[in-house]
């Protein structure tokens, strides 16, 4: 699934994947399905962190987060902050996480996504527009459950050595 550490991504692939993730984030869904949208940008950032942290580590997470803020029209910097934090953890524990079996990996991703969502919840609260609707937490387990699918899908994007 993963191809070692020295993966030479072309910037083109990175930009394409990021733009696709952002587009999937704003893709119109039927109203009842809206809360079930997986957290595509966070998954993409985590995947890049685990795969190629030297090239696409924290700075990438920060820029992707800022783009997400601009796209979603929320407070500028909030996703940049939270994604940088989870990218840091992912980079730190990268070698352990990559050695885990898929289910175990999903569990770690779940924890990271919880952290991400909790930080967002916190920032929303400080900024004075907290969303207390319980449905805001749905994407977290859903995205973690999608992790094996995401890795096998994105593996097609990673250049083979």
């Amino acid at each position: 699934m993963m191809h070692g550490t020295r993966i030479d991504f072309g910037w083109g692939r990175v930009v394409v994947l990021t733009v696709l993730a952002l587009a999937a984030t704003v893709l119109p869904l039927p109203e009842p399905l809206e809360p079930f949208r997986p957290n595509f940008v966070a998954l993409t950032v985590l995947w890049f962190c685990l795969l190629s942290p030297r090239l696409l580590g924290l700075s990438y997470a920060w820029i992707a987060g800022l783009a997400l803020d601009g796209f979603a029209g929320v407070l500028l910097g909030q996703h940049a902050l939270t994604l940088t934090v989870i990218a840091y953890v992912a980079c730190k524990l990268r070698l352990q996480i990559r050695a885990f079996p898929p289910l175990h990996q999903s569990a770690v991703i779940l924890a990271l996504l919880w952290l991400n969502e909790f930080l967002l919840f916190w920032i929303d609260g400080i900024a004075g527009h907290a969303i207390t609707d319980w449905r805001r937490w749905i994407p977290v387990p859903l995205s973690a459950a999608l992790w094996p699918l995401v890795t096998s899908l994105y593996a097609h994007f990673a250049p083979r050595r």
């Binding site: 119109p28 030297r54 601009g70 407070l75 902050l81 934090v85 840091y88 609707d133």
Partner: protein
């Protein structure tokens, strides 16, 4: 993972470099948030991102729109004919109303002249198309395809054919974000059309539901009352329909009534909305000019 040995760089990432980067990036993000939240100084950055995002947002919703257009073009002839008949009859009714309206408008202007108050009617409007883009499922906001290039400004009122829709919260060069009257952060000053009682209608975050929590127990409100904009606050033109009261709960234990209302504007189904300009009678105080 045998490739690690061939990699001359340190095996374990981290150490001070990674931690330092984290601290720098997190403080940058925190600085951005404070600047954005407190001072609203980041208009240029926002505009930049909005401009970059616009083509992607447009591309995402294009297939959905194209599908709608294709379905429209395959609509059966009978449906189009039925629609045509309905439009013709609607047109007749509206023209009759317009005749009455014109005389009423003249009368209204005369009366207003007597009272020396300004009429504050909508003077100019611009049709904007809603981009089918989901911004945040828990906030009632939409994106439209007109921005500052079309003289759209922050705080501008947005209406549709049936009533008040919302206001512009952010205007980029090519697109603008509109907060709907049902957004939990939105409040609109309203007036009960039947009695003239004024109150404030708050959004609830659910499409199709406004709440009026500030009416006293003895207020004269009944189910079916029309709420119109009162024009207080100066954002919305007065006298435009906002919502219809759907529930009035009189709990004697509570000091205030719990009133629910359903917005009249087609908040979740309009393909197009109107951005309006009107003469605002409330003049903002000029900032004191700096004396040399």
């Amino acid at each position: 993972m045998s490739s690690h040995q061939s990699d001359p760089r340190p095996l374990l990432l981290g150490g001070p470099a990674l931690g330092l980067r984290l601290i720098v990036l997190v403080s940058m993000a925190a600085g951005l948030m404070v600047a954005d939240h407190r001072q609203h100084r980041l208009a240029a950055i926002r505009d930049g991102i909005a401009t970059l995002a616009y083509p992607i947002q447009w591309a995402v919703q294009a297939p959905v729109q194209a599908f709608g257009a294709v379905r429209e073009s395959f609509a059966t002839r009978t449906r189009v004919e039925a629609e045509n008949v309905k439009l013709a009859s609607d047109n007749l009714v509206l023209r009759l109303k317009l005749m009455r309206y014109e005389s009423l408008e003249q009368e209204n202007q005369r009366l207003r002249a007597v009272r020396e108050s300004s009429p504050r009617v909508v003077q100019r409007s611009l049709v904007a198309e809603i981009l089918r883009v989901d911004l945040d499922p828990f906030r009632q906001r939409v994106l439209v395809n007109k921005g500052t290039r079309a003289e759209v400004f922050r705080g501008q009122a947005v209406i549709d054919a049936a009533g008040i829709y919302g206001q512009v919260t952010r205007a980029g060069p090519f697109s603008a974000e509109i907060i709907l009257i049902t957004d939990p952060e939105h409040a609109i000053p309203v007036q009960v059309n039947r009695t003239g009682a004024r109150s404030i209608a708050l959004g609830t975050g659910r499409a199709g539901l406004l709440s009026l929590p500030y009416l006293p127990q003895n207020a004269d409100v009944i189910v079916g009352d029309l709420l119109v904009s009162s024009g207080l606050g100066g954002v919305y033109p007065p006298g435009y329909p906002v919502a219809r009261v759907t529930a009035v709960v009189r709990d004697p234990g509570q000091p205030l009534l719990a009133v629910e209302a359903e917005p009249l504007a087609g908040l979740d189904r309009d393909p197009e909305v109107l951005l309006v300009w009107f003469d605002n009678a409330i003049v903002e105080p000029e900032p004191p000019s700096e004396t040399p």
